[in-house]
Structure formats: structure tokens, C-alpha cells
Symmetry: C3
Subunit: 469 residues, 3 copies
């Protein structure tokens, strides 16, 4: 990325609810590959080292999402055009003068850091007051066309204003720009809304700079994807389909195996090492890392988690979890935040682990909940074990030593500690610490009442015997 010491800032235009999307959120928060469109754009700006970011939004949910992503925000309460939107950031820009400002559209998720960086390179090399990022697309209708004069930008003509000749131009305005910040501020003050819509357009700022004979350039992106956006659910599905295809292609090229593409959703920030295998129906999102030789799926969901080398993660879900090497997980397991699973652990069906560390080689075979615990290595958990971590007031922590054997349907009432090599008998409710090497048992004597069931189950058995005939 660009290592320039020049001051850079970015303004992301994210106002408007996007009513045609009919979403429960504002449009820019709709997800592509498990990540809101706005966050794609914010992260592209970050990756391009575009400096402090100010998001211009109208809706509360967007303001909150931008703040959560570490951006400055300015609210545009009236919708008076892109120029008016950037004006909302005037104080932000004035405080950061002397450098360059990147303008991005919050609903173009595929605008990438490489394009932004290369455009910046051209912008500074040419000493431009403004550099528009362009794309050449098959069907330019509805877009502003790029008029070039040699290498330089001569103008941007809106579709409605195009001559027949200009209509044929397929290089279009992406809506993204690099401006010298001072020039942008000066031009913003001069744009007017004396047009049919009564709006202030950012392209008028470009026109003003051109009129003033300032240098202007145009950087053409390698792909038309940078201008792709979505106005309705069909368009959003298309973005998701493109993102899914690309993600699989990218990981295939990097040595990752897939059996079918069906139902595979992989977010843009997911890292998968060569030699990993992703089975159908998996959703991998957030800052997930899949190590070499791991086999994920079918139908696994992994978010912000690391799955270690050679680990099998079958039909299970992990969120904010860490799983070591050569672990066997699933099917039907949930790892919740801060589950940390050691190497060679086995976790079988219907097990949930939350905010707990599990030591190397420990086995949790079935129907068990481990919450708020530190478990040692090479322990064996029977079926139906419950870490009773919550008493209605506070959540307490449990400690289990190495080589412990926790019997089936044991309740461990936190806070409690099992020493190394402790054993709990099936059905025990463990209310106090168990020393190393000790057995804990709480078991009422079994009473056998002969003949009782014969009477009780008379009708049941008769009914079933009929079925059996």
C-alpha cells in the first residue's frame, strides 16, 4: 500500500435509507458475503491507508454502525445531493487540510484498496486537484460518462446531457474520487443547486475545478466490479453471488479444496490456508482463519474463529472461538465466544462450550455443556455433564485438573475445583472441591419395587403389544 506521509482522509457517502431495498436496515448495512456493504467500503479505505474516515449518514443505524467501525460520522438530515453530503464533512476536512481526500460511495462493496491506492498514485504523480476513479462497463446507460483529453480528465457528462457520440463512451464515473482537500473545500463552496432536482452535485465540484483550469485526472479501474451496487433485493443477491463465486475462485487458486460451490459463503476477510478442505453449505465470515489440512463442513458456520491444522469441524458452529490442531469436532456442536480448544481434543454431538479452555487430548463426547471453565488435559467427560455456572446472580468459574474423569449427568456447581485425576460418579452434583485422586459421589440408594411397573405399565404394554403383532 501507499506509504506516503501525505495527510489523507476519506469521506464515505452513506446517507439514504434505500427504500427500494425494503430491508429492515438501511441499504448500506445490507450484507454481502456476511459483511455489511458499508464495512466493505470502510475496510477498503483502511487497507488503502486513506487516513481518518468520516461517514456521512442520514439514518441512525448507519451512524451507529460507522461509529462502531471506528469512523467519524456526520449526519445529513436533508437529502440534497452528493455535494451537499460532502459538505456535511466540511469541519472534518478543514481540520485535516493540506493533503488529499478520498470520496467513496458506501454502497459499492467491491471498490477495492488496490484501485484506491493506484488512483492515489496517479493523483499525486500528476499533481491533480481531482482524480476520478472510472470503470469501463458494457452498458454505460444511466452513468456519467468520462470525457478525456489525452490522459487528463476533460469532463464528466451525465447520461441525460450526453450527445449521441458521448452516449457511446463506455468509461464511466464510479462516484469515487481523490481530491486535494483544499481544492475540494473551495469547490464545494461554489456548487449550486440550480438544476431540475434542486440538489448539489459533487460532480459540479469537478466541473468547477476544470473550469478553473486545475489539473484533473481519471484512473480507470481494472474491473467494472468497482461500480457494482444494489438497489433492490435482486441486485443484492447478484452482489452476493458474485462475492461467493469470487471467494471460492480466490481460495481455489490459493490451494484450498472445495467439493461443490453450493451454499458456500466466505467473507472477504477470511483466511484459509492451502490444503484445507471446505465442504458444501458452509458459511465462513468475519476474521476467521482456517489452517492447512482442516476439513470444514458440510454445513458448518464459522465466525471470527480459528480452526487449527488437520482439525475436522463437521456440521457445527463456532463464534469467536479458537480450535487447535488435530481436533475432531461435530456433528452438531456449538463453540461460543472464548471457547479455546486444545490440540487433539474430541468434541462429539450436542455439546456447547463457552468461555472455557479445554486442555490437550480431552474428550467431551456428547450432550454436555461446558461454560466458564478451565479444563485440563486428557480429561474424559461422560454424557450429560453440566457446568452449572449461573445461579441467578453471578456466573462463576470451574476448574478441572488433568486426567479427570467426570461421570455422566454430573452437575459441577461453580465455583468448584476438581483436582488432577479426580473422578465423579454418574449423577453426582458436585458442590465442593474434589481433591486430586478422589472420588465424588452423591447418590441415593436404588430402591427396587417388584411388580410395581407391571401394574403401572399394563395399558402401555397392551397397546404396544398390539402394534407388535
Amino acid at each position: 500500500m501507499n506509504e506516503s506521509n501525505n495527510l489523507k482522509n476519506a469521506v464515505i457517502l452513506a446517507a439514504g435509507q434505500g427504500k427500494r431495498m425494503r430491508a429492515a436496515t438501511s441499504k448500506v448495512l445490507c450484507e454481502v458475503a456476511g459483511k455489511p456493504m458499508l464495512n466493505w467500503v470502510i475496510d477498503a479505505a483502511r487497507k488503502a491507508e486513506a487516513g481518518e474516515i468520516c461517514v456521512i449518514a442520514s439514518e441512525t443505524d448507519v451512524m451507529e454502525a460507522a461509529a462502531k467501525a471506528g469512523c467519524m460520522t456526520r449526519q445529513q438530515t436533508e437529502r440534497l445531493g452528493t455535494g451537499h453530503a460532502v459538505r456535511m464533512a466540511e469541519d472534518f476536512l478543514e481540520a485535516r487540510c493540506g493533503g488529499d481526500t478520498l470520496i467513496l460511495c458506501g454502497d459499492n462493496p467491491f471498490m477495492d484498496s488496490e484501485t484506491i491506492g493506484k488512483a492515489y498514485g496517479l493523483h499525486t504523480r500528476q499533481g491533480n486537484a481531482v482524480t476520478v476513479i472510472t470503470a469501463e462497463i458494457a452498458d454505460p446507460a444511466r452513468y456519467g460518462r468520462i470525457i478525456r483529453s489525452g490522459d487528463a480528465l476533460a469532463g464528466i457528462v451525465e447520461d441525460a446531457d450526453c450527445s449521441e457520440e458521448q452516449k457511446k463512451i463506455r468509461e464511466i464515473n464510479s462516484g469515487a474520487f481523490w481530491f486535494r482537500t483544499e481544492d475540494l473545500l473551495a469547490a464545494l463552496k461554489k456548487i449550486r443547486n440550480d438544476n431540475a432536482q434542486g440538489e448539489y452535485y459533487l460532480t459540479d465540484a469537478v466541473a468547477i475545478l476544470l473550469e478553473e483550469n486545475r489539473k484533473a485526472g481519471a484512473y480507470k479501474a481494472d474491473t467494472e466490479d468497482v461500480v457494482l451496487g444494489a438497489n433492490d433485493p435482486a441486485g443484492l443477491l447478484l452482489l452476493n453471488e458474485i462475492a461467493a463465486k469470487r471467494a471460492v475462485d480466490r481460495h481455489l487458486a490459493n490451494g484450498v479444496q472445495f467439493r461443490l460451490r453450493d451454499g458456500v459463503v466466505i467473507g472477504p476477510d477470511v483466511i484459509i490456508e492451502p490444503g484445507a478442505v471446505i465442504l458444501p453449505g458452509c458459511t465462513l465470515t468475519g476474521k476467521t482463519v482456517i489452517r492447512t489440512g482442516a476439513v470444514i463442513g458440510p454445513n458448518s458456520m464459522v465466525t471470527d474463529s480459528e480452526i487449527g491444522e488437520g482439525t475436522v469441524f463437521e456440521s457445527s458452529k463456532a463464534t469467536d472461538a479458537f480450535v487447535g490442531k488435530d481436533v475432531r469436532i461435530g456433528p452438531y456442536v456449538q463453540l461460543r465466544p472464548d471457547a479455546r480448544i486444545g490440540d487433539k481434543v474430541k468434541i462429539g454431538d450436542f455439546v456447547e462450550i463457552k468461555n472455557s479452555s479445554i486442555g490437550e487430548g480431552t474428550s467431551v463426547a456428547h450432550l454436555t455443556y461446558i461454560g466458564d471453565a478451565d479444563v485440563g488435559k486428557y480429561c474424559n467427560f461422560g454424557c450429560g455433564v453440566v457446568f452449572v455456572n449461573y445461579d441467578g446472580e453471578v456466573k462463576n468459574r470451574t476448574r478441572v485438573g488433568d486426567y479427570c474423569f467426570v461421570g455422566c449427568n454430573t452437575n459441577l456447581i461453580a465455583p468448584v475445583t476438581l483436582g488432577d485425576g479426580a473422578y465423579t460418579a454418574a449423577g453426582a452434583t458436585v458442590t465442593k472441591d474434589v481433591p486430586a485422586g478422589a472420588l465424588a459421589i452423591s447418590r441415593e440408594a436404588l430402591v427396587i419395587k417388584d411388580g410395581w411397573a407391571a401394574k403401572k405399565l399394563k395399558k402401555y404394554i397392551e397397546k404396544k403389544q398390539k402394534l407388535s403383532q
Copy 2:
């Protein structure tokens, strides 16, 4: 729909097993988008307000399915042609004379109510004795061709009988008709089986009416889908693929979001509000309703259930259930019939709820079964709680008040009542009512046997220590 007071009836031709399908059921019961083909046709007739429906079937399973759907049935024991099939309904028709009769094919699932209604409009406007529903298709081979004389129907010519000129006609007989009931009955009596196959054809009834100079019309459907059927599994798969694509398209246009189309099956009677999100791998069938802002999937199965506004329903199954607003369900949950989940409830992994109501804000985090119960609001269920609703004789009901705290691995032996704010200790088996604000505990004292485990687990620990080195 048509609000005419004219008497209307419908006869659906559903005889034959459909051996080429090689299905475990008769062909017309094979499913398209989770709904048997016959039920698509029955519902189209109902939606078109075509009056009482009589299904002509040969197989027992079809007779039963038709009766279950509220139709009259007549059995055709011999397979002697479509004319013979309609004759099986002679008594049905005679009892409903004076109006019009719709004839439909039980294996054309995409014949829709709009087409049926518009055909009826033409039929009555023109005062026809018979109106055939037609479609224009790309490859008319094998179908009967429609011969028109101006706007009127001049004849239907079977493929085998077509002249070279007639073979070029692409408007074909869908097999669906509106008849004036009296005319149909009269013509049925006159049709003969003096043909190569020795069968009675319904199209001969049309020919007889034309010979008698009765008015005959032809209504051309907007789409060729109305004639689509399936004779074998490949054809049935194609119908399902068409239905899946169409359902997603329809809901997209209505403001519903999808991330990928993969594995998404949506039945024709499912309602999804704009702003809902359907993730890959979901099967939504029956009279399911998904409210706005709900997020369903991946890999969820919802049948005849309502999922409320803003609710997350992740990798779980619901059948005949109702889920309120802002609920968080899954992964790996099953809601069985008559589960009624209040607003803001949280249901975590490995929980089954059946025939129970759960009050607002209650939390059922993991590994719990709630059956035959009324649970209040803002309760907290520990892990491994079981509502013991069946004793081998009868199923009993449990009541849990508001703000109760039910400890892990608690057994609630129905019938039993927990008062508001009651608390059960982990491992309790609750055999009698617990008053409001009381604690119920049944717990054998824990016995610690020092050194016992050290001996018992000697070999276990040695084996594991080797692995650990």
C-alpha cells in the same frame, strides 16, 4: 377472483399410478416445492372459486389424500381414458347441474387460479358449451393442437392425426376445460371407444359439441407452465427447479433478501414479508409466515409456522409453531407442534419445545426439553432441564410462573406447578408444587472418597499420559 353466483364444480383427473415415476406413492402425490402435485391443482381450483371438487382416482393413496384435502372422490377402477374418468363423476355432476364444470389434470401443478378464472370469464362471456384452456409452447409435438376459427374453437386434433400444416400449430390443449355441466353430461353419454386404444376420450366430448354446433372457445394461458407435468424423476426434478427459481424470484420482487439460491425450497403458500432474510439451505413449506426483519437459516426447516418480526431462526426446525418478535433461536433447535414462543425469548442449542407456551423474555439456553407446559415470562432454564410429561399412561401438563429459575438437570414431574419466582436447585427432581418464591431441592449429600480415583484411574491416566508425551 370470480364472484359469480353461477354454480361451479370441478373434476380433477388423478387416476393412474404413474409407473414411470417409480415412486413410493402415486405420481400425483409426488411433491413439488414440498407440496404434492395434486394439492397444487386442488388449491388452484379452490383459489379460482371453482366450487365443489371431485377427484377421480384409481389408487388408494390418492383417494385418501383427496379426501383429506376436503374433496369428493370417485374411484376409476379401470383405466379407459379421460372421458371414462369424467364419467365416474356423473352422479356428482348430475347433482350439481345448471352451472359449469372445470376439468383439471391432477399432474399439472402450475395450472394457476388466474388462468382458470380468466378462462371462466371467457367461457361465460361467450356463452360457450365448452372452453378449452390452451398454451402456446415451443415444442408442441405429442400434444393435441388447437384449431381456431376466428376467436372460436374449431377443433382439437391429436398429434397423430395432424396434417403437416396442423403439426406447425403451437397452440395446444392443456387438458383443462370449462364445460356447461349439462352439455358435458350429454356429450359424455355419446362418446365411444371405437379407436385403436379402445378408450373413451374427453376431447371426443368436445368434438361432439362442435358437431352439434354448440359454441366452443379457447382461452390461451399467459404461460406455457400451465401444461408442465412430470412422468419420471427427471421431469419431477425439473418442476421442482422451476418452482424453486420462481419462488425466490417472486419473494425477491416482494422485498425479501436471499444470499444465495442454493438449497432454498419455498412452498407456494409461504408468505414472507419484505425485509426478511432467507439464508441458503432453507426449506419453508406449508402455510408458513415469515415476518419482516426475520433472519432464517442457513439450513432451517419451517413448516406451517409463523416466525415473528426481527427473529433469528438459525439452523433449526419448526413445525406448526408460532414464534414472536425479536426471538433468538438456534442453532440446532426443534419446535414441535403447538410450541408458542413469546417475544424476546432466547432458545439456545439442543432444545426441543412441544405443545408449550413460553412467556416473553424467557431464556432456555441449552440441552432442554419443554413439553406440555405453560411457562411464564423472564424465566431462566439451566442446562439439561426436562419436563417429564409422560409417565407411560398419560401426558400431564406443567405450569411455571414468571421469573422462575430452574436449575440444571432439573426434572419437573408433571403435573406440577412452580409459583412465580420459584427456584429449583441443580439436579432436583420436582415431584410436588413449589410455592412462589420458594426453593426446591432434592440432593443427596456429596461424599468424597480420597484416593479412590487415583487407584481406579491408574491405567486411564497412564494411557493418556503416553498420548500426552
Copy 3:
């Protein structure tokens, strides 16, 4: 298949790691439709009755996999060409002289037994010293071209050595051959590495036999699939996509129903009877058998298991299991090795069964683990039952008679026996045998502490009441 008594052997070339695949295993062990490519080739040779098989490998994992599949193995420690590879099997071939030897490539999974058998037929009919298996492909670049002289083989010309005219030949060398074993051995001794790469090529053995005027033939396979291989993950995905499409097509033609193709992976050795229904997202692998009328999925995983007639297997996993007729399983069930499920059994959610037989009509509704047990017919298991089969030392077996009623959260401590019609009370820990018709109960008296919870839960209730307002 060919019933000839002639001695036959096969040599499979499987050396090389296949670095471009970047897999965690050697390339030939990468899976197509859930089966390693090498095993596809081994099984094709077996099905063609090609006699004893010797796999030439360089990597340890391939040596082990070949041995596990019952093949002889020879290690090629240096990579000096295909001729050198076959030489590794010289002792194997010398011990089996007097017949014919099949040479196959370990990374061509779609080379099929029919092609091999037909090529052998031509080979023996023509009395050839060598018969090459060929394919006609659209883009022959990179492949050796087949030069024919009438029906006979005149030569194989490598792509680099082709004249312009020869480059147009679309019949290519598949790399698979039938040799008279003695001729192969003789020719192998004569091939030289005086070429640019310094390697020994098997095709030079063919050239030597031609020079010596031995009879040589070429058998052209019906399909170009026989030469398909994969060098990288994209190629491997393509093989999997082809295998998936073909498997569905094959089973459709055989009367099996599918709703969508999405996410359906079916191994080559899976048998599905007509009338079965496979829903989306299913992975069926190994020697799995699905009987007529069974409904599998969505999202089920079945390996080396039989699912009986009319059985529903919904969103569950089975490995090495047997399931009878009219069983209802799922969602979210795991059948582990040696689960044997009788007819009409019902297994509900979150149940695991391992190494156990379950008698006819028994019901295991939820959250239960049955391991190492023999369970009779028409039993009813409550929720949370655990068969405690492992005590840290040994796994013991449990026996449950017919018509037993096992209460919720019961622990059955193996070894233990429940007689017919025995009943265990909820929460019992059963440590000794329960006679037929008897009740087993171990239950501490319930203590109710009035007012205790009211104090304990004061803050909890206040917090929740605020949410409730």
C-alpha cells in the same frame, strides 16, 4: 465382466505428491465424491477382474492407503518416469508371468471397469502384445496422439514431437494399457532415458514392441472422461462437479427422486432404490444403501450405512449403521458405528446411538445417549437418558428388555440389565439389575424452602422486570 481364466495383474501408477494440489495428502488421495481418486482406480480394476493389484507410490500416505485397500505396493523413491515406475513392479510381474498386465494411472478416477474390460477383450481377441486405451477429446493439446494403421496401433507421438498434421489427431493416449506381461517385462528392460528429461517412459516400451513388429492395438473408450484428472484444486473441484452431476443423473434414471441438485454429493458405490427421495444438502458415501420410499435429508450425512424402506432420515448423520423399515429419525441425530435400528423405531432430536441394537417400535425421543446396549422392542425412553458404558477402565454392555419404560435423566450404569416391562423413575441412577415388571427408583426427598428463592432471586427479578416494562 470378463470371465477369462487368463492370469491378469494390474499396476497402478500413483507416485508423486502432486505439489500443485497443495493438499494435506498426496494428490491421488484427494477425494472425488467422498472417495479418494486412487480408490476409484483400484475399484475399477477390481470390478474389471484385473487380478492382483500392485500400486507404485512414492509417498507414505499412498503406500498405506493402497495396502489398506488390499493392494500390493512398491515404492518408487526416485521420480524417473512412468517406465521407471512400472519397473518398480518387476518382481511382482515376474512372479505373475504368462498372462496380461493392466497399467492404470492413479489419478484418473473416471477410468471405468467397462472400458478396461472391453479393452481387454480387444487385446486378447487381437492377440496383442500391447493395447493402449485411448479417448477422443476436444482439445488434445499436451496429450500423446494415437497413430493408427487401419485397426492396429502404429505409434504414440508425444505432443512436442507431433507434425502439424499429427497435431490435428484428437484420439489420445489415456496412459492406461494392457500388456502381455512377458512382453512388458522384456520391453521395460530395453527402454532408455536418453531424452531431455533423463526419464524412462512407458510409451517407449510400446515403441519398442512396435519396432519389433509385435501386434499392438488401441481401444477407444466411449467417453473422454476416462482421461480426466486434476492437478490443482480447481481441477479437483471440476471432477467433483462432474461426479455429482453424473451421480444424480444416474439415480434419476433409476427412479430416485431429487428436489434440487444443490449440495448433493453421492459416492460411486452408493445404491439407492427406485422410489427413494433425496433432499438437498445430503452427502451419501461409502457402501451406503438407501431403500425404496426412504426420504433422506435435507442435510443428512450417510456413510457405509443402510437406511430401510419408507424410513425418514432428516438432518442427521449415520456411519456404519443399519436402519430398518418405517423408522423416523431426526432432526439432529447421530448413529455411530454398529447402531442397528429396528423397524418402526422413532428417534427424535439430539440422540446418539452407538454399537447398540434397538428393537422394533421403540421410541427414543430426545437428548439421549445409547451406547453398547441391546434394547428390546416397544420400549420408551424419556429425555436425557444416559447409558453409562465407560467407567474409565472398560466399556460394558447394557441390556434392556421389551416394553421397558426408562424415565427421564436416568443413568444406566453398565453392566446392568432391565427385565421386560421394567420401569425406572425419572432421575434414577440404576446400579443393579431391575427385574421384569419392577420399578427402580433412587430419589432424595424433595425439600421446599419457603421464601428462600425470593431473597436469592431479588436482583434477577428486578433486572428482568425492567426488561419486561
